[in-house]
């Protein structure tokens, strides 16, 4: 690791010491970050098991209860919001994939006029302040009947989901050599066979990883569903905040609601764990 490596034999033991120190430092650093990153989550789990009366006066020693779980999961229409959120966020990601992957392909494969400009425009949607677009969208949705509908929300969520997916997947397409497609064509594959049998498996890691991130952002979206829905469709974040009741903040219930809210994301994350990191490398993984 260090310059001394080549000097003499005695440095061998010094090296081991350095290695040990390095390992120690690394694990210390990781543990510190783990404390920062994970303690709030652990705290959330602890809170979910506490009664309101113990919320402020106890730290780790308290009498655990499942009352909060009962109150949230059995007592309210929480699951309705859960499934509606699933439809909206899932629908948004599916629409993004259906419309976005071909777009990513075109941006990667073809050289056409203004290509880079167009690619940038697509990306720039992600950067438009939500608060800026929300008012006109609200007015338009009210007029054309998209207010408080699944499709309306799914459509608006494209602002959140589509640019990310297009950009990641485009990187993957750029990495796939044209020769593969040409060879397949010579073998008599039709274009959609090429697309589904050859290209899709190759872009899968990127698609899956960016789709998951897109799903997370859509799932947690707050401002759009707040203004654009409410009567028929309720989403998780807003519903979770409802346990900030008028009497007091039922932190225990908020914790339960948020823990259940993150569960589909965590399950998805564990499922595609292999792809998650690989997938965001924009197809640049070598070897």
């Amino acid at each position: 690791m260090d310059n001394e490596q080549k000097t003499n034999v005695s440095s061998q033991s010094k090296n081991t010491a350095l290695d040990l120190l390095g390992t120690f430092g690394r694990n210390l650093g990781l543990t510190l970050y783990a404390l920062f990153a994970l303690f709030p989550l652990v705290w959330m789990i602890i809170c979910s098991l506490k009664l309101d009366s113990e919320m402020y006066n106890t730290v780790f020693v308290f009498s655990p209860t499942l009352d909060n779980y009962k109150a949230v999961l059995l007592g309210t229409d929480y699951f309705k919001a859960f499934f509606q959120n699933l439809i909206v966020a899932g629908g948004a990601v599916i629409l993004t994939i259906v419309a976005g992957v071909p777009a990513a392909y075109a941006l990667a494969r073809y050289d056409f006029k203004k290509k880079e400009d167009l690619a940038f425009q697509i990306l720039s949607f992600k950067f438009a302040p939500e608060i800026l677009v929300i008012l006109p969208i609200f007015t338009i949705f009210q007029r054309i009947g998209l207010y408080d509908t699944y499709f309306g929300l799914i459509w608006v969520y494209q602002l959140i989901t589509m640019p990310l997916v297009i950009w990641v997947v485009r990187g993957y397409f750029e990495e796939i050599s044209v020769e593969i497609e040409q060879a397949a064509q010579l073998d008599g594959y039709r274009w959609f066979d090429i697309f589904f049998d050859i290209l899709v498996p190759l872009i899968k890691p990127g698609l899956v990883a960016s789709a998951l991130l897109a799903f997370i952002f859509a799932w947690n979206s707050f401002t759009f569903p707040l203004v654009l829905s409410g009567f028929k469709i309720q989403t998780m974040t807003i519903t979770s905040l409802r346990y900030i009741a008028s009497d007091t903040v039922h932190y225990g219930q908020v914790a339960v609601a948020s823990l259940v809210a993150v569960s589909p994301e965590i399950i998805a994350c564990l499922f595609i764990q292999k792809h998650l990191v690989r997938g965001l490398s924009f197809g640049a993984v070598k070897g």
């Binding site: 976005g100 290509k115 677009v133 990310l164 990187g171 490398s281």
Partner: protein
């Protein structure tokens, strides 16, 4: 589908020489995606239009006021304050998260059981909705009933003011932002690290180069395209940050955290002065647009360079 036959054997197909039907094809393929996004573009046009009117939620009628909203904004000290807060918040949040994300990713580089488990666990904060994250942190940072107060007391710090003082409000907001969003950078940097070729590093080690030297001359430059992408997405989000600050202190104390998003939102949706808020939000959009343009240009260049490996 034989157009590719007459294309040169190159990475790109020269569509200028291809038949018209083929030349148009990319536009067809891209059309559905574009259409969906352009549908959402209409509101931008409307927003720009409305910024020249006195439109508000107060009334169903409106009239043109010319440049009044714009000149009012530029004449208002609150406007420059908001821009300044936006830039400062964007800078602090992004810098903290980039450095932390990069360091933690490098620490995770060695493939051990511990690091494999942590890689998964570390992504979890990203999944918590920011509004909820603030709530958790608010409970933890409460001076009277929070768990962190006890922790800090142990170190002899009492009544750390967190979000309630002008001096530490920005720090607290950035801290929560960092908690939620560092995993995003972490993921991208880890992806970058995975894509690094092995041979240059092996060669450097054989030559006995120091870790710092390897990082400076090999790892960091090679990770740059990934860092740029992470930077791009984070800078944009941090410049526009609304949810965390609004839930934390509504922009207070005083005007400490009143960035453009908050000022715009409160002016439009609470004070019901949409026309007055739109110049703020459009300026934010322009700031984001310019910053994104610069970053993207640089990133595409770097990515192309990196592809040369």
């Amino acid at each position: 589908m034989n157009e590719t036959d007459n294309a040169p054997r190159d990475d790109r197909i020269n569509y200028n020489e291809a038949p018209v039907s083929v030349r148009r094809r990319p536009y067809f393929i891209i059309a559905p995606g574009l259409l969906i996004l352009i549908g959402i573009l209409i509101p931008f046009a409307i927003a720009i239009f409305l910024s020249f009117t006195n439109f508000s939620f107060r009334s169903t009628s409106w009239r043109f006021v010319g440049l009044r909203n714009w000149s009012d904004a530029f004449a208002d000290r609150a406007f420059y304050h908001a821009v300044w807060v936006t830039l400062r918040y964007g800078f602090y949040a992004t810098l903290t998260q980039m450095v932390l994300g990069l360091v933690v990713a490098l620490l995770l580089r060695k493939d051990t059981f511990y690091s494999r488990v942590l890689k998964v666990l570390f992504t979890f904060p990203l999944m918590v909705a920011p509004a909820i994250a603030v709530l958790i942190w608010q409970l933890m940072t409460s001076n009277s009933v929070g768990v962190l107060e006890g922790f800090l007391n142990f170190f002899g710090v009492f009544d750390f003011p967190w979000a309630s003082s002008h001096a530490t409000a920005m720090f607290t907001a950035v801290l929560i932002d960092t908690w939620v969003n560092t995993p995003f950078i972490l993921l991208l940097v880890l992806a970058g690290i995975q894509s690094l070729p092995k041979s240059p590093f092996e060669a450097a080690q054989v030559d006995g180069a120091s870790s710092w030297f390897i990082f400076k001359t090999l790892t960091f430059p090679m990770l740059k395209p990934f860092l740029y992408i992470a930077l791009l997405f984070r800078v944009m989000a941090a410049l526009q940050e609304f949810g965390i600050i609004f839930a934390l202190s509504k922009g207070g104390p005083g005007d400490t955290l009143m960035n453009i998003s908050l000022t715009g939102y409160i002016t439009a949706f609470q004070f019901l002065r949409m026309g007055k808020a739109l110049p703020y939000l459009l300026v934010l959009w322009m700031i984001c647009y310019v910053a994104a343009w610069a970053l993207v240009k640089r990133q595409r260049k770097l990515a192309k360079l990196a592809q040369g490996y």
